[in-house]
């Protein structure tokens, strides 16, 4: 199974749009592109979903802000899933 991201909620702030959702990595996947449905991504935060702490941290492989709101590349430890929060417009 490939890396997949999906939006589970979104709404406006005063001047931006905030989007949050989940990402999942297949057993051999170590990240991919998060699609927040935005033209421009200014902030991208990630959070692990797991029953135990994770020994390796995930990273955003973008120079933000950038026009990557539909494809912001992240790198995760192999197979680790989580949640994202994206801010942009």
């Amino acid at each position: 199974m490939a890396f997949v991201s999906s939006i589970s909620g979104q709404g406006p702030t005063s001047t931006r749009r905030i989007v949050f959702g989940t990402f999942t990595n297949g057993a051999a996947d170590a990240g991919g592109d998060i699609d927040g449905g935005l033209a421009k991504c200014e902030v991208l935060l990630m959070q692990y979903h797991k029953s135990a702490v994770v020994a390796t941290g995930n990273v955003v492989n973008e120079v933000l802000p950038a026009a990557v709101g539909t494809g912001a590349t992240v790198v995760n430890p192999t197979g680790e899933d989580g949640m994202f929060i994206m801010l942009g417009f």
Binding site: S8, G9, F20, E42, V43, V60, P65, V75, L87
Partner: protein, 178 residues
């Protein structure tokens, strides 16, 4: 500082940091008078071994010099939340010091000190029925070997949130829901 926004009752600023030249952190100027929470997200092309931390005690902190600690040469993005001042609500190891509404959700910020998830539930259920999103940021004076995790598939009842944290460590949290 790269941007500024208002999230309900919260002033929010964000920007980037880099521990260049072998550096391992320093002070962030959030461009706010006081801040109640700062969240970090590391940047890079490969997953990292140690988590960046915020070496401060929140809330109501001088926003001009928020100390963070990173591994050498680590870069990333910071998000600072400030503006609102409410009387802190503490239950067991959990303290809430920010509550607002934006984007059609209720949002809460606070700290967890060596907390069990039972205390998190006791606090979150006062503000929302269902948690839809949550972010946890380690607070410490040295980088943390393990990343905190949330053992849930959101949306999840606020009465059933289970966290996986490192013992004796403190964390900031941001939770959103309805």
């Amino acid at each position: 500082m790269k941007g500024r926004d208002i999230w309900g009752a919260w002033n929010v600023t964000w920007g980037t940091y880099v521990s260049a030249g072998g550096g391992t952190g320093g002070n962030i100027d959030t461009a706010q008078g006081n801040v109640n929470a700062v969240f970090l997200q590391e940047k890079g092309s490969a997953a990292i071994t140690d988590m960046s931390v915020v070496d401060e005690t929140f809330p109501d902190l001088d926003g001009s010099a928020v100390t963070i600690v990173t591994i050498a040469n680590q870069a990333g993005t910071w998000v600072a939340i400030g503006g609102q001042k409410i009387e802190a609500i503490t239950i067991d190891e959990i303290t809430v010091f920010g509550v607002t509404v934006f984007a059609g959700k209720k949002w809460v910020i606070g700290t967890i000190t060596d907390g069990g998830d039972g205390a998190v539930e006791a606090v979150l259920t006062r503000f929302m029925n269902t948690v839809e999103v949550m972010k946890i940021q380690p607070l410490d004076s040295a980088v943390l070997a393990d990343s905190p995790a949330i053992d849930e598939t959101f949306p999840e009842s606020a009465a059933g949130i289970t966290l996986a944290l490192t013992a004796s460590k403190s964390y900031l949290f941001l939770a959103g829901g309805v």
